[in-house]
Symmetry: none
Subunit: 355 residues, 2 copies
DNA sequence: CGTTTTTTTGCATTAATTTGCATTATTTGA
DNA sequence: TCAAATAATGCAAATTAATGCAAAAAAACG
C-alpha cells in the first residue's frame, strides 16, 4: 500500500502539510478553493481523516459545544482524471462552493468518490463509505446516480443533487437554469439576424435529462418569439429519427444547405463535433452557419471558441449546501428545484447572417 | 491562473480598489451604476467574493444585536380581487407563508396593494408608498408587475417575485414547479391509458409566461414518453392559429372527435371553460375525453372537481422570504429561480380510456 | 516505553481587503 | 450666486486572509 497521508496530498498540490491539516480540522482562514482541492484529491487517493477509528480524537473539540452537523459529498465519477485537471475543473468548483458555504455555517463535509458502475448500495464502493454514512446528517450528490441508489439513500437522510436533474420526488436539485440559458443563446442568435434556427443533440444510452430540458427550453423560446420550427430542423430528439454520430452530422449539413442558418446544441461537446463535421464537409462556421453550445467547457485544440452558456458551478455548490442545511433543520417541506442563471459567453461561432 | 482580485477589477474599470471593495461589502454611498459595472466585470472574470468567515462577530457587531430588517410586500392586484373571500384566496395563503417565515427570522414586513394599471413609479399608487420604501431592505412582489416598475425598483433594492415568472435578469423568482406539475398530470393520464393527449390554452393580452412554460413542460414530457403530439392537437399556442374563446372550444371538440382522448389545460379556468363547452356540445367529460388543469382553484358551481395541480402558495411565500433574506445579506450573485412541487389532486375529470 | 511517523498548532510573513478621512463634483437653498 | 449639504470616490493606514516554517502533540510501531 502506498502510504496515503497528508504529506502526499501536500506534495501533489504543492502546498504545505500544515495547510492540508487545517483543511481537515476545519480551521478558519483556509481558502475554500484550497480546501476543495485537498478534499477532492483526498477522495481520489482514498485518504480518510482521523474519523475511521474511535471517532472524537480531540477532547477540546467536544468541549467547544457546537452540535456539529456533517454532510457527506458523493461524487459519482471515474477517478476524475478524465477532464482537464487545470483551472476550471467542474467538481472542484462545485466543491469550492460547498466548502465555502459549509464552513461559514459551521458544517463539516466529507468527500468521497463513488463508482458510476455501481448500481446498488451493496456494491463495495458504497460499503466502503457505509460506516461514515451513519454520522452524516445529509448528503450532497454530484453528477448522476443510479436510481436504485437514490431510493436507498433517500430514506436514510435528506439529499440534494447538484448539476444533475432528478424527477425523483423528495430529492431537491440545484442546477443551471437551462431555460434562461437556451433563451439567451437564442436571443444572441436573433440579434445576429437568425430566424431559422435548428436544435441539435444526440441520443444517450442513459437518458439525459438535460437534453430534454434544453430541448423544451428551445421550443418554448421559439414559441415566445413567434418563430416557427420545422420538426425536420430538430436533430435526434423524439419524434425525429435516431441517428448515429456521422449520420446526425450528415443530416445537419443537409438541413444547413436547405436553409437553417443557426444550430442550438444541447451541449458543448455536441457543438464541437458538429462544427468539426460541418467544416469537414466544406461548410464554414460561422460564415455559413452559426452554432451555440451549452456548458462552457474549454475548446479542444483546433476548435474555435464556442458561443456558449457557462455553468456557475461554484454557486451551484454553495446554493445546494444552503438548501441542504435548510432541509436538515426542517425535514418537511416539498421538494424543490433551484435553477441558477448561467452567463452567456460570446465566442467565435456566431456571426451575423448575410442578407 | 491570472490572479483575479479586486485590484484587477479596479484597474480594468479605472477606479480604486476601495470602491470595488465597497461594492462587495454593500456600503452605502456607492453609485449603483458603478456597483453594477463591478459585479458585471467580476462575473466575467470569475471573481468570487467571500464573506468574512473567521470574523469572530467581534467588536461592534455583537453590541448592536439585531440589525432589524424590514421587507415590503407589494401585491399587484385590484382591491375587489384581493378581498374576495369566496374561495381560498391565493394571496392570503402567500402572505401567511411570508409572515410566518418573517416572524421566525425576526424580519418585519409591511404589506401594500398597488394598482395593476400603474405602469411607472411616479404613479400615485407608488408615490403613496414612497416614504415607506426607504426603510425597506428588500421587496417581495406578488403577481405580475409592469416591466418599467421592475426596472426602477430593481436598482434600489433586492427583489423576489412570487408566483409570477420574470425573465428579467436580477430578479429572483419563486413559483410552482410547472414542469413537475405538467409531468405528473400527463403521467396520471397515461396511467389511465391515454396516449393521444392534446394541449389547450388561450391567448392573453399580456403575455402569460406560465402558459408558455407549461406548454414547454408538455412538449418535454411527451418527448420523454416517446408519445407523438400532432401540432393540430395544440390549441392556441404558436404556431397554431389564435382563436377566440368559442372557436377554441369548437376546435377542441373537433379534435376530440378526431381521436384526442385527453386535454392538458394550462390553467384551471381554461379547463372549466373547456369542460363546459364540450358538455354543451354533447361530449361527456370524463366519459369521452379526460381533462386536467393546473392551479388547484375550487370548481365553479355546476362544474366537476377537476384533476389538477395544487399550487403550494404558503410554501412559495415562505421560501421567497427566505430567499430575500439571503439576498439582502449578500446581494450579488446570480439570479435564481426556485420551483416548488405542487401536489396532483385527482378529481372527477380523468377516467380510464375505453378500449 | 522509547522511537519514528503523522498531524496539529503557534508564530511570522505576505497579499488582499476594508475603512477612516480627505477630496472633488453636484445639488440645494436662500 | 455662493455657501452648505450631499454624493462618490481616492489615498493610505489598519485589518484580515492565507499559508509556510518549525516546534509540539498525537499516533503508530516494535
Amino acid at each position: 500500500m502506498p502510504e496515503v497521508n497528508q504529506q502526499l496530498i501536500a506534495e501533489r498540490l504543492q502546498i504545505s502539510v500544515a495547510t492540508v491539516s487545517r483543511c481537515f480540522t476545519n480551521h478558519p482562514g483556509i481558502n475554500p478553493l484550497t480546501r476543495a482541492r485537498v478534499f477532492q484529491l483526498a477522495a481520489e487517493l482514498g485518504y480518510t481523516h482521523q474519523e475511521m477509528r474511535t471517532g472524537r480524537a480531540s477532547k477540546k473539540a467536544t468541549a467547544t459545544s457546537k452540535p456539529k452537523v456533517t454532510f457527506g459529498v458523493l461524487i459519482c465519477s471515474e477517478e476524475e482524471e478524465y477532464y482537464r485537471k487545470d483551472y476550471q475543473n467542474p467538481s472542484e468548483q462545485i466543491l469550492a462552493g460547498i466548502t465555502e458555504c459549509a464552513h461559514v455555517n459551521g458544517v463539516k463535509v466529507e468527500v468521497h468518490l463513488v463508482d458510476p458502475k455501481a448500481v446498488a448500495l451493496d456494491d463495495p464502493t458504497y460499503l466502503k463509505i457505509e460506516k461514515f454514512r451513519r454520522r452524516w446528517n445529509g448528503l450532497l450528490l454530484v453528477y448522476p446516480f443510479p436510481s436504485a441508489v437514490l431510493d436507498a439513500l433517500a430514506i436514510k437522510m435528506p439529499l440534494v443533487s447538484l448539476v444533475e436533474q432528478y424527477d425523483h420526488a423528495g430529492i431537491d436539485c440545484v442546477d443551471v437554469d437551462h431555460d434562461k440559458g437556451v433563451s439567451s443563446a437564442i436571443e444572441h442568435l436573433r440579434e445576429h439576424g437568425h430566424r431559422r434556427i435548428g436544435f441539435f443533440t444526440r441520443r444517450y444510452t442513459v437518458e439525459a435529462s438535460w437534453s430534454f430540458r434544453r430541448y423544451a427550453a428551445f421550443v418554448e423560446k421559439m414559441a415566445r418569439l413567434r418563430l416557427t420550427v420545422s420538426p425536420r430542423d430538430i436533430v435526434n430528439m423524439f419524434p425525429s429519427k435516431e441517428l448515429g454520430e456521422a449520420e446526425s452530422i450528415e443530416y445537419a449539413a443537409e438541413r444547413t444547405l436547405d436553409g437553417v442558418t443557426a444550430w442550438v446544441c444541447a451541449a458543448d461537446h455536441q457543438a464541437f463535433e458538429l462544427i468539426r463535421g460541418l467544416r469537414k464537409r466544406g461548410i464554414d462556421v460561422p460564415g455559413q452557419v452559426s452554432v451555440t453550445g451549452f456548458d462552457g467547457i474549454a475548446a479542444p485544440r483546433g476548435c474555435p471558441v464556442l458561443s456558449t452558456i457557462e455553468i456557475p458551478f461554484r454557486e451551484i455548490g454553495a446554493t445546494g449546501t444552503l438548501r441542504l442545511i435548510a432541509r436538515v433543520k426542517k425535514h418537511f417541506g416539498s421538494t424543490q428545484h433551484v435553477f441558477i442563471d448561467g452567463r452567456l459567453r460570446a465566442g467565435a461561432t456566431v456571426a451575423s447572417i448575410r442578407k
